[in-house]
Symmetry: D2
Subunit: 142 residues, 4 copies
């Protein structure tokens, strides 16, 4: 994929605490980058996750993560994490994430995160409401 496939990017700078003994970002921290990017992606479309969880009694659970590590990321690197919703299922959201070098087409990593909409009391999966579907569709200009 290319930068043009994303309408949303979150900028990050690599912290020293995220570097491992090989001098590159430790593999687990990519999932933290993805998590931060999804949080900011929803903020970007003015979706208030906390209010949603409180008002509806619903919450999203992460059920799958996939990361491809294409190129090591060094300390202090300025990166941009592209995020988009690839699929809105009945109860699931599939996000595509891609870590770019700042203002460049160089790809450090690409990945996928799947969330499932869940009732906090019954722990059953629940259909994603029309409000959120429309919000995402409008933001992604689908």
């Amino acid at each position: 994929m290319a930068r043009s496939d994303f309408r949303f990017f979150h900028d990050l700078r690599v912290r020293y605490s995220e570097i491992d003994g090989q001098g590159v970002v430790f593999n687990a921290h990519y999932l933290t980058y993805f998590d931060v990017a999804i949080t900011e992606y929803f903020r970007g479309m003015a979706f208030d996750y906390s209010a949603y969880a409180k008002e509806t009694g619903l919450d999203f659970h992460l059920v799958k993560s996939l990361v491809n590590y294409a190129k090591p990321i060094l300390f202090d690197a300025e990166i941009q994490v592209g995020c988009r919703t690839a699929k809105i299922g009945n109860s699931s959201l599939t996000f595509i994430l891609e870590v770019f070098e700042k203002e460049s087409e160089t790809i450090y990593s690409s990945g996928e995160i799947i969330w499932v909409n869940t009732d906090q009391s019954s722990h059953k999966t629940v259909r994603i409401g029309d409000n959120l579907r429309e919000l995402i569709d409008r933001f992604e200009d689908n």
Copy 2:
């Protein structure tokens, strides 16, 4: 998969620092658990990774991680991470990992990690040597 599919388990207890605001292990820490388990898996077969890297000038790079999150893991939970080599490719190793509740068939998570054998100077992929292939085959009783 079941416990009987693994010849190696690494025991861990969930740290409070690994718990997130939902009271369960944060998704990125599963990759840390996998990383620790692979380290111990190689120790279990008496493979000296540090010596290997120094003597051969080779090193493994993680190129892919996949995690399925089946059941949330709570603070203080005693877990067992099963690890086995699913495939020895030309230059790659594919590990299957599975997080079990202690002494139980309950599965918290399953995943896959792929490593690629790389020359530290040229950064090119290199065929995995016969020594390591035999070590793994003997350990896994293939």
Copy 3:
């Protein structure tokens, strides 16, 4: 201080994820080691923290941490974290922690953690009950 100053040790092995670009344990992780050691220290004296919090409506808040870094800790090092209660105040507990090389008097780090007993509803500090005082005194053989 020496090993003989501690009645309790928690054994840990350094994870690769805890190593930074200088090849040594990143400074923040010492606090995670201390946290794990205090959890295990209470388990060692059969104090059920979760039950305590639920039954009494009280909880401890960490209000101070101090770490002295004496000697860098390398990847895969086997360490032992000594923990003892240095002082039981009206509402506070002061823990002394010391990280030793396994079965050695070599000290990697020493530190101090202070907890304050707090009412979860009013958020006010509360006197530590006699049960917990006696439990600690007996365990420490004061």
Copy 4:
């Protein structure tokens, strides 16, 4: 201390991965915030740490950390970490750090970090050079 005691602030937003089971930032992450703030503080005064380490063969080792936790920090909070050099010793630098609520005098945390200038080969402490002393003095307007 107050905001006016600092000439440098680094802005951060709390990540979900940094929240623990009590719904607040886990104590160890404050040291990561401090570490990031010191990195940005030096960038702010145009001190090139990497070049310094390479050219001089010197490096700084963190020898002490102290954190006071005044007020819990919640998920998504926007914070500002104030950083200043409190003392330039013969071979040591003492930093004062303070975590403020964004654009407010509310203090979440205050702390101290001590670094020692060290020769990377001999591992002996070394006097801090005049260049760096002057750079800090000018930046802090001492």
